[in-house]
Amino acid sequence: MKLSAEQIEKLYQFTRQHYVEYYDLQTELVDHLANAIEEQWQQNPKLSFQESLQIEFKKFGVFGFMDVVGQRQSALNKKYNKLVLNELKTFFSVPKIIGTVAAIGIVFYLMKQLQGDFWVVQSFFFVLVISYFAGMVILTQRNKKRNKQNGKKWLLKEIIFGYSSSAGLINLPIQFSLHLKGENYHDGFLLLFSFLLILLGLTEYIMLVLIPSKAEDFLKETYPEYEIVN
């Protein structure tokens, strides 16, 4: 005996009740539970839907689906970091590297000229940090609105739009800028500084603009079902 569409919907509800928020994971777990229940019915046709569901759920252990959700999260975080890194790499290979090096050069030159007025450099950092947070807030809001429209959450989408593991990264420029004083810094130090500034700026651009703009492609690649249900 096969499960009805109504029972499948009940299984989706069941996963939601057990803290599986994301549609991609729900789908996989629903199919698993459905297969297991159908297998049980072959052995013992008298079992009710609820009874066999409870038997199967117990097999996931005391933490239920939590382990599966947690591990899926860390796997997709890794995937996201890889996406950022891959985009970043393109800025350090031909032809984009020409622009990157030029930008580092300009920042270096400016810093050398502005050594007395380090507040100018500090405000650069300030702008970087503020725009990062502002960008994240805007992205998250936009995604929330979209989620409300179709009611399905996708884990990778949540990571791309707003929930990001690298928020700690932005602490670095704050620390840097606080420790700057108007002294005569060594050229090597200034160069390293310019490099870091550009690197942060690029990472921010990739996370806030580039990857969200390609999000649909990444989602379709990760989730073949994305197109079917959306």
Partner: protein, 110 residues
């Protein structure tokens, strides 16, 4: 999984070997296949299988396909090109491990 500590490290290799033989498989099918091959001796737990599958997918070893079967969506896993060559390495590693364990557990007297 029976005596899970001993099998834990080999779970991904087991999954890759099965996919190499069977082409594409879905989660539940993998648990059943292992049970069948080992005549119920080895049971892969759900809590261990899916994290392993997701990790391999994120590493680019596996790719997924979706199909609509019996009122529901089914997610199939199969090896990527990278995964196929990786399977050869991991199997060789596992065989080496088994050989070493055997010589430790059953040392031949010379």
């Amino acid at each position: 999984m029976k005596n899970s500590q001993l099998y834990k490290g080999s779970l991904t290799t087991i999954v890759m070997k099965l996919l190499e033989e069977n082409g594409r498989m879905y989660g539940y099918e993998i648990t059943q296949k292992v049970k069948e091959i080992t005549k119920g001796e080895l049971k892969i737990t759900e809590g261990a299988l899916y994290p392993a599958l997701h990790k391999l997918e994120a590493e680019g070893v596996l790719e997924v396909e979706i199909e609509n079967v019996d009122n529901r969506l089914r997610k199939y896993y199969k090896l990527t090109e990278k995964g196929t060559s990786e399977t050869v390495n991991r199997l060789a590693e596992l065989e080496e491990f088994i050989k070493n364990m055997q010589s430790i557990v059953n040392p031949k007297l010379t």
